[in-house]
């Protein structure tokens, strides 16, 4: 009997390891397969048992109740997992293997369609690979949404003796965990995507820069890279997994490059673009985990398949990450275009606390706070930008009505003050002054004057900062001011 127990960090954080041990103890003939997570975190630890009809699920399972999964009497029996509406209603492209396969089994990966994209790419000219990615409409999933194919084309066309593929796995935005989930649940997909990127632009070395807050992902990636290397997949293109050291700013691509080079993670001015002068001064593709992970599918199933998903200029699927105060927090992979409301209610089931929803922050700590009235905004880069928001990496953090948006605005500035690299003045000094000014407003010290000052400061940070950290910090602040002015005048 095959029993599937996740080894994803989130599942482990609620006892998956103890459950697995209990299964081994109570069901000695059970063949336990450790998988990634399906992304239905409210059900974790989610145990699946293979049956002739398919995999049936139980979740959450506690070690004490393990015995009842063997006879099907567990109170949290879910039936066929694939039939759960939460999964069934998704369009899983990138996360199709997550929670299904053993992330460190290359055979499992191949059996589920892995390396088909690479095989296709190996028979293509570099320019043709780049063209396919360009045609797919794939945009960078890190937040800025820059067309991936254009970046690759720049690197391909830049003459150099050495080029690099750098995977930005420094996913530090609160509410975002899709990268982590993928790295832990299907690491070969990322590796395959990087190998293809290397073929496309003529790079022979890749780096994955993982944040140190993700020790499980770091270990899984290291193991996966070693396995892939042993299996001969990393000949002519090798990958080194590097660990960050507690600096949010290193998610900014130039700061990440500085960090990879062994320096302080200070932002570099652009130009030059990393595509022209990146890691160690060489042309470098810097892509997010999910961008690279989308590539094998594009090569395997064709640019059209991918491009046909989505809306407007946002093509393909988005990994919507429901988080915070939401009942069914988890990963929802959907083509771009469903509304925020559909995501939060149809999938997320509303707030976890049962209290009314008051605000949603999409796109991490630099994303805007949307009120209830903006919930019908479709999840699309341009639609969010039009509402002074940011889709970013697709993280959705739900707040109920106990939230104080003046506090949240203050936190945005505080977070910037803590995580700013300190290079440019608007961000380095401005964030600290922002906290102080909001404190004055909250403390009703000359609120009108300080509100005007705060708005000026936000304008300065938006227009004057060297990178997106300072430039976007005002988004949560200004959105809070715009949509929740009452919180600043209590």
């Amino acid at each position: 009997m095959k029993v599937y127990v996740p080894r994803d960090a989130a599942a482990l954080s609620v006892g998956a390891e103890a459950v697995a041990r209990a299964i081994a103890r109570l069901g000695p003939d059970a063949e336990i397969v450790r998988t990634g997570s399906r992304g239905m975190f409210w059900l974790e630890p989610l145990v699946e048992i293979e049956t002739p009809a398919g995999r049936v699920g139980y979740g959450p399972v506690e070690p004490e109740t393990v015995s009842s999964i063997f006879d099907g009497t567990h109170p949290n029996a879910l039936g066929l997992v694939e039939d759960l509406p939460y999964l069934k209603n998704q369009e899983r492209v990138t996360f199709v293997r997550c929670g299904v396969t053993d992330p460190l089994s290359i055979a499992d990966y191949r059996a589920h369609g892995g390396f088909r994209g690479l095989e296709t790419a190996r028979n293509m000219a570099p320019a043709a690979i780049v063209e396919a990615v360009l045609q797919s409409g794939l945009r960078g999933r890190g937040g800025a949404g820059f067309p991936c194919g254009i970046k690759w084309r720049t690197v391909l066309n830049e003459p150099a003796d050495q080029k690099y593929i750098v995977c930005n796995a420094d996913e530090g935005d609160s509410g975002n965990y899709a990268d982590r989930m993928l790295m832990e649940g299907d690491p070969f997909l990322l590796i395959e995507g990087m190998i293809i990127a290397g073929l496309a632009v003529g790079a022979n070395q890749g780096y994955i820069y993982v944040r140190s807050e993700y020790p499980h992902a770091f270990r899984t990636l290291n193991d996966a890279v070693a396995i892939a290397r042993d299996a001969g997949y990393l000949q002519g293109f090798d990958i080194d997994v590097r660990l960050g050291a507690g600096a949010y700013i290193c998610g900014e691509e130039t700061a990440l490059l500085e960090s990879l080079e062994g320096r302080r993670g200070q932002v570099r001015p652009k130009p030059p673009l990393p595509a022209i002068s990146g890691l160690f001064g060489k042309p470098t593709v810097v892509n997010n985990v999910l961008t690279l992970a989308a590539v094998p599918t594009i090569l395997d199933k064709g640019a059209e398949f991918y491009r046909d998903l989505g809306m407007g200029r946002s093509r393909g699927t988005l990994a919507i990450q429901l988080a915070g105060n939401v009942k069914h927090a988890g990963l929802v992979e959907k083509a771009f275009g469903i509304t925020l409301r559909e995501a939060i209610y149809d999938f997320g089931g509303g707030t976890a606390s049962g209290r009314p929803l008051r605000a949603v922050q999409v796109g991490g700590p630099l994303g805007a706070y949307f009120p209830e009235s903006l919930l019908d905004t479709p999840l699309d880069y341009e639609a969010f930008a039009a509402r002074k928001g940011m889709l970013g990496h697709g993280g959705v953090v739900v707040f109920d009505d106990t939230v104080d948006l003046a506090r949240q605005a203050r936190f945005a500035m505080e977070f910037c003050a803590i995580e700013s690299c300190g290079k440019c003045t608007p961000c380095r000094v401005g964030s600290t002054r922002g906290v102080e000014t909001i404190d004055k407003i909250i403390g009703t010290h000359e609120p009108a004057k300080n509100l005007e000052l705060l708005r000026d400061l936000c304008d300065l940070m938006v227009d004057g900062s060297l990178c997106a950290m300072g430039g976007l910090t005002p988004y949560p602040v200004l959105s809070a001011l715009q949509h929740f002015p009452e919180d600043f005048a209590r």
Partner: protein
């Protein structure tokens, strides 16, 4: 993790550093390796790192001080890192943090972290090297009891 750190040994540290010195951009890997061995980057290590990596000592200091992970002094026996970013805020991490904050002592550090990637199971915390989801005051007390770090 904690509690299993070695005593400083310049020769062994130099071997560790030299073992990584040829890795491109070696400084972070070197600092991580020293952290693994010693739980921090001892002052004595700085000149060894600088010379082996052909950096100035100032540069090494600059890098160590930039990254919050790197410590200059030995860590306490146990660390609880509580996520205090937005997703965890929405689920009441602040109360748990305040509850724990008073428990700090020579054997226990309570630190803030911004995002552990467990936002769907907020609030999240890292108790030593164990990630904990749906963290709560009750779980915090249990963790303290298990660590034997209750003041």
């Amino acid at each position: 993790m904690t509690g299993c750190h070695q005593k400083w040994n310049a020769e062994r540290a130099l071997a560790t550093i030299r073992g990584l010195a040829d890795v491109p951009g070696a400084l972070l890997p070197v600092l991580h390796a020293l952290h693994t061995d010693y739980g921090h980057v001892p002052d004595e290590a700085v000149p060894l790192i600088a010379r082996s990596l052909r950096l100035s000592e100032a540069e090494v200091h600059g890098v160590i001080s930039f990254y919050h992970d790197f410590r200059r002094t030995p860590p306490p026996a146990h660390t609880i890192r509580v996520c205090r970013a937005e997703a965890c805020q929405s689920m009441g991490c602040e109360a748990v943090f305040q509850h724990l904050d008073g428990s700090t002592g020579p054997d226990l550090a309570v630190e803030t972290v911004y995002c552990l990637g467990n936002c769907a199971l907020a609030p999240a915390a890292m108790v030593d090297s164990d990630l904990v989801g749906r963290f709560s005051i009750a779980k915090a007390d249990r963790a303290l009891a298990e660590l034997g770090a209750r003041p």
